[in-house]
């Protein structure tokens, strides 16, 4: 049992936004998914004010121990989400975190207000870091831009607010500090690192979105360094992610100062990865590998 921004969770294992669609997963796995739900809190895919189709395919490229994606934030838009997705997500056996992204500060405020007033929602996550959308990169890479975005969301929503940072920044710790000062209740990192692949035959960009974001074990060491730097710079809880695929990796992120961790790409290899990693983590902290319980209290 841990507490994240005042919200009690059965454990420290979340999913990374956009890496697990509980509604689609339920179509594939049925109610067994709810009986054996792999995460202690569920983070929705990032939603935007207007619906988005996402980027043209191909959207995926496998790299050594990693993946590049250029999904482009497809989503039903705020109204579609509130009407068709939220009721279903409310049935999940764990607290719900809704990830939002706005292309202007007014959009952010509107999203925050509409989502923040819903009782089904336990927390908000502000995505200022999606490398597939210009604004995401600009906002999240600059401390003052980030602060302004956070203030606009903060002013509209009283729910706990997580700010998701981009690793494509010179100084993530400075951005995290700015988010904290602007009223964020927690920060999460890392999002994907900008990456690119070329078509084996043509030499042209493989991905429909030309560039994309790299995730998976390949980026774990980079993510761990940023999580340690950010955790050393802020007081608010840090949610660490980036290539975590075992309890040992999760323990490393907690030891580096994270309060909770999130599983992204590893869920693609096994939808139950979150479940397995939580169990491995328990075994480790019992084994006294590191003070998991302590460091997981926000």
């Amino acid at each position: 049992m841990i507490e994240l921004c005042g919200v009690p969770l059965r454990g420290p294992v979340l999913n990374g936004s956009g890496t697990f669609d509980a509604i689609a997963a339920r179509r594939a796995f049925g109610d067994a998914l709810l009986e054996r739900f792999p995460f202690h809190a569920f983070v929705s895919k990032t939603i935007t004010l207007a619906p988005r189709e996402g980027n043209p395919p191909p959207r995926l490229w496998e790299t050594p121990a990693g993946l590049i994606n250029s999904i482009g934030l497809p989503n039903k838009g705020l109204q579609g989400f509130l009407e068709s997705d939220l009721p279903e997500l409310a049935r999940l056996p764990v607290p719900l975190v809704v990830s939002v992204m706005g292309f202007s500060r007014d959009e952010l405020a509107e999203l925050a207000a509409a989502v923040g007033e819903r009782d089904e929602v336990a927390m908000l996550e502000l995505n200022v870091s999606c490398p597939n959308v210009e604004t995401g990169l600009i906002m999240g890479a600059d401390p003052s831009e980030t602060a302004l975005a956070v203030e606009h969301v903060r002013s509209q929503a009283s729910k706990p607010l997580i700010v998701k940072l981009t690793p494509n920044a010179t100084d993530p710790a400075a951005v995290a500090g700015a988010a904290q000062d602007a009223g964020a209740d927690a920060v999460s990192l890392v999002n994907t690192l900008k990456g690119m692949a070329l078509h084996p035959r043509t030499g042209e960009p493989w991905l429909g979105g030309r560039a994309g974001g790299v995730s998976g074990p390949a980026i774990r060491a980079i993510a761990l360094e940023q999580v340690a730097a950010v955790a050393g710079a802020v007081e608010i809880p840090v949610i660490g992610m980036g290539g975590i695929s075992s309890g040992r990796h999760a323990a490393d992120f907690l030891a580096a100062g994270a309060t909770a961790i999130a599983i992204g790409t590893e869920s693609f290899r096994d939808p139950a990865a979150g479940h397995r990693i939580a169990a491995e983590l328990d075994a480790l902290s019992l084994g006294g590998r590191m003070p998991a319980p302590a460091s997981t209290i926000a």
Binding site: F20, A24, R27, A28, P38, G54, N69, R269, P271
Partner: protein, 277 residues
């Protein structure tokens, strides 16, 4: 109509490889799945990875599991024996083709939606191109059994096209005699399988088409069928990372916008597609 989708357990499990059979240009891998559902629907697929040594191939890959239609399923007392027909085209399929008996095969599935019943009163025509024959194997088996029990004359007919004789060996896996053509004429006529389809539809257009193969073939099938208003279901492919709707990576453009092939397919009604790309 409830969609032909058997639910999968929400976790990856380990099946034990029981047979690895070289079939000309392809490999037929059979593994015993101890705990999975015993009735996957033809057209559904599984995400596969070798339990050991997944990675370290060309370019330090594979990393993610790979999608494969099941070609055959046999219920045995200690589980279900699943067979996959695969063509080694890269690090993932190469590693799978090297699997030895008793090695572990990590799998998730069955996933996606399979083939739907034929339109009333139409005869089922199965059209396969190359490795696209895989999902048609279990479908022919089921349709033939139905035809026998209902004893109608609606037994499925199978049309197959292959690159060469080595690939055409897969035709032997079908129960019924199938019409086979090859690109090099080494088996049957030198022709495209869509030529066989066109001839069949000339003779009798009262059919439902089930097709799987490379995109250009599927597009030709789609075009042929839409001209003649013949219902067609296409088992399609796209690059997949997860197989259960998590990554949004496997989308294909349809008249309803982008659809995730792993949850809304891999079998799609041809009508849904402007064009197969």
């Amino acid at each position: 109509m409830s969609e032909p989708r058997t639910l999968a357990p929400p976790e990856r499990r380990i099946a034990q490889v029981s047979g690895v059979e070289r079939l000309g240009a392809y490999d037929l891998i059979t593994a015993l799945d101890p705990t999975g559902p015993t009735s996957p629907r033809p057209g559904q697929f599984y995400m596969l990875a070798a339990e050991e040594g997944w990675g370290g191939g060309d370019d330090e890959r594979p990393y993610l599991p790979r999608a494969f239609s099941y070609a055959r399923a046999r219920v045995e007392e200690d589980g279900i024996a699943l067979s996959f027909l695969l063509e080694a085209v890269g690090p993932g399929t190469q590693r799978l083709a090297e699997l030895a008996p008793d090695e572990g095969l990590a799998l998730l599935g069955p996933l996606g939606v399979g083939f739907r019943p034929a339109a009333n009163g139409t005869r089922p025509l199965l059209v396969g191109g190359g490795i696209g024959a895989a999902p048609l194997l279990c479908w022919e088996e089921e349709l033939a059994a139905e035809a026998r029990s209902a004893d109608t004359d609606r037994a499925p007919e199978v049309l197959l096209g292959f690159r060469s004789a080595a690939h055409a060996q897969a035709a032997a896996l079908f129960a019924a005699e199938s019409q086979v053509v090859t690109d090099d004429g080494s088996v049957g006529r030198r022709a495209l399988v869509t030529e066989l389809l066109a001839a069949e539809l000339e003779a009798d257009a009262n059919a439902t088409i089930y097709a799987c193969g490379p995109p250009p073939m599927l597009e030709a099938v789609r075009a042929l069928c839409s001209e003649r208003d013949v219902p067609a279901q296409l088992a399609m492919e796209s690059g997949m990372a997860c197989g259960f709707g998590a990554c949004f990576g496997c989308v294909v453009p349809t008249r309803n916008g982008y659809l995730r092939l792993c949850v809304d397919g891999p079998v799609l009604d041809a009508d849904l597609l402007e064009e197969v790309v």
